[in-house]
Each structure stands twice: as structure tokens, then as C-alpha cells.
């Protein structure tokens, strides 16, 4: 029953197919739906526009367009977009960048459960 779905509809963005698989599995196992997967920033911007997800998990280091640039583009067109960065980069520095852009949070890929807590708090 559509009205009973309490999880988030999420777009997963990561250039690594293994990481997309890990994140998507964690989302599904915790009651969320994966609306789509993108492997770079360009695909993420296009899929966000087409799918209008509730939230986005966004990697940073990607070819074509990186996650910071993609998040800026998404937030320009939808200031209410709920973006959580999930990255290997140094948390102290890049979480400040994420906050400045207007993202909802930044979590390390070494703590994959953390993005679930952030997502559920949105």
C-alpha cells in the first residue's frame, strides 16, 4: 500500500559500482527505496531532475563532474534538495564544504551506518 511507505526514496551517486551496491543494499534493508543510481555528477543532476527523490547520497571524487559540483547544481534548481555526502575524503575539511553548499550532512564511507541515521533524521 503506497500510503504506508515510511522510508525515503533515495538517489545513490557513486562512481564505484561496489559502493553503489553496498549503499543501496543498506538502504533497502532499512526500509528505504532506491529510485536510481548515478555514477558521476552529470548523471546525478539529470536523474535528480527526472526522479525527484526525497534524498541523495553523494560521493565526491568522480570523473565527468564531481559530487560537490553536482550538489551545487541540484541545489540551484531545488534549494530544498536533501543531499548527504558519503565520501572517503577528510571529514574535517570536506564536511565544512558540504555545509557551505547547503548539504544535510557528511559521513565517512568507513561508517556506512551513519548515513542511515542522518537520512532518518531528515
Amino acid at each position: 500500500m503506497k500510503g504506508m511507505f515510511m522510508g525515503k526514496r533515495v538517489l545513490v551517486v557513486d562512481d564505484s559500482s561496489i559502493m553503489r551496491k553496498v549503499i543501496s543494499k543498506a538502504l533497502r534493508e532499512n526500509g528505504h527505496a532506491v529510485l536510481g543510481e548515478a555514477k558521476n555528477g552529470k548523471e546525478a543532476v539529470a536523474l535528480y531532475e527526472a526522479l525527484k527523490p526525497d534524498a541523495v547520497t553523494m560521493d565526491i571524487t568522480m570523473r565527468e563532474m564531481d559530487g560537490l559540483a553536482a550538489a551545487r547544481k541540484i541545489l540551484e534548481s531545488d534549494p530544498g534538495a536533501q543531499i548527504i555526502f558519503v565520501s572517503n575524503l577528510e571529514e574535517a575539511k570536506y564536511s565544512r564544504d558540504a555545509q557551505r553548499i547547503g548539504a544535510k550532512g557528511y559521513v565517512s564511507k568507513q561508517r556506512t551506518q551513519d548515513f542511515l541515521s542522518l537520512l532518518e533524521a531528515l
Binding site: I60, T61, D66, L89, E90, D97, Q110
Partner: protein, 134 residues
């Protein structure tokens, strides 16, 4: 509409893919297989790129896990020191040194690879070459 490649074009694309595969195998994960129009060769190029990206992901994860382990080891070592004011017993000290060496060797092996847009600093930080927002 997919344009058909001539035999010469196919041979040239295959040669280029073989060159990139060799570079990746030698640890240059910052290279990418070029766009190719032929269906099978395009599939091969895409799979090569996925393999390199996934390998980089695993390597960075290894490097970061070793960094976390080194940090825990340092804290543990400090905590133990307070219980041994005369100095750590030889076997414990040797064990800690050996583990620290193993984690550093793991990080050294990862740092032998050329990674795409990621800089692993010996001080323990992982940054983007292209700089981020600041």
C-alpha cells in the same frame, strides 16, 4: 544509430584499450579507457573503467582502515604506558611496534598506486587534488 567501425578502427581501438589495461595493471588507476563506438569494445572499455574505480575504492578503504588502526594503537599504547611507569614490557612493546609497521607497510603499498583525483598524505589525511570548495 551506431556507426560501424572499420577493421582498422577496431584494431586501433583494441590496441589503445590494451595499452590502458597495461597501465591500470601497473597501478595507474588515474587513467581511463577511451570512448569506443563498437558495442563489444565499448563494453570492454566500460568494464575496465569500472574495475579501476572499484580497485581505487578498495585501496582507499584499506589505507583508511590502516590509519584508524594506527590511531587506536597509539591510544592503546598511551593507555598502557600509564600502567607501566618503568616502561612497557619488551614483548608488548615489540608487538605494538610490529603492528604499527604492518599498518604502515599496508599504507605504503596503497600509496604506490596512482589514484584518480585523490591525494593520500603520509600525515594521515585523504584529500582531493582538484581542491574542493576551500
Amino acid at each position: 544509430m551506431t556507426r560501424l567501425m572499420s577493421m582498422d578502427d577496431e584494431r586501433s581501438a583494441l590496441k589503445e584499450l590494451a595499452k590502458v589495461a597495461r597501465q591500470m595493471a601497473e597501478g595507474h588507476l588515474d587513467v581511463s579507457a577511451p570512448d569506443v563506438e563498437n558495442g563489444e569494445l565499448a563494453e570492454l572499455a566500460s568494464a575496465m573503467n569500472d574495475l579501476a574505480v572499484n580497485m581505487q575504492e578498495v585501496l582507499i578503504n584499506m589505507w583508511k582502515q590502516a590509519e584508524i588502526a594506527k590511531s587506536v594503537l597509539k591510544e592503546t599504547s598511551l593507555a598502557l604506558t600509564s600502567h607501566f611507569p618503568e616502561g612497557l614490557p619488551e614483548d608488548i612493546r615489540k608487538g605494538i611496534d610490529s603492528l604499527r609497521g604492518n599498518f604502515s607497510d599496508t599504507q605504503g603499498a596503497v600509496m604506490a598506486f596512482d589514484l584518480y583525483d585523490v591525494f593520500l598524505d603520509p600525515d594521515g589525511t585523504c584529500s582531493q587534488y582538484s581542491g574542493g570548495e576551500t
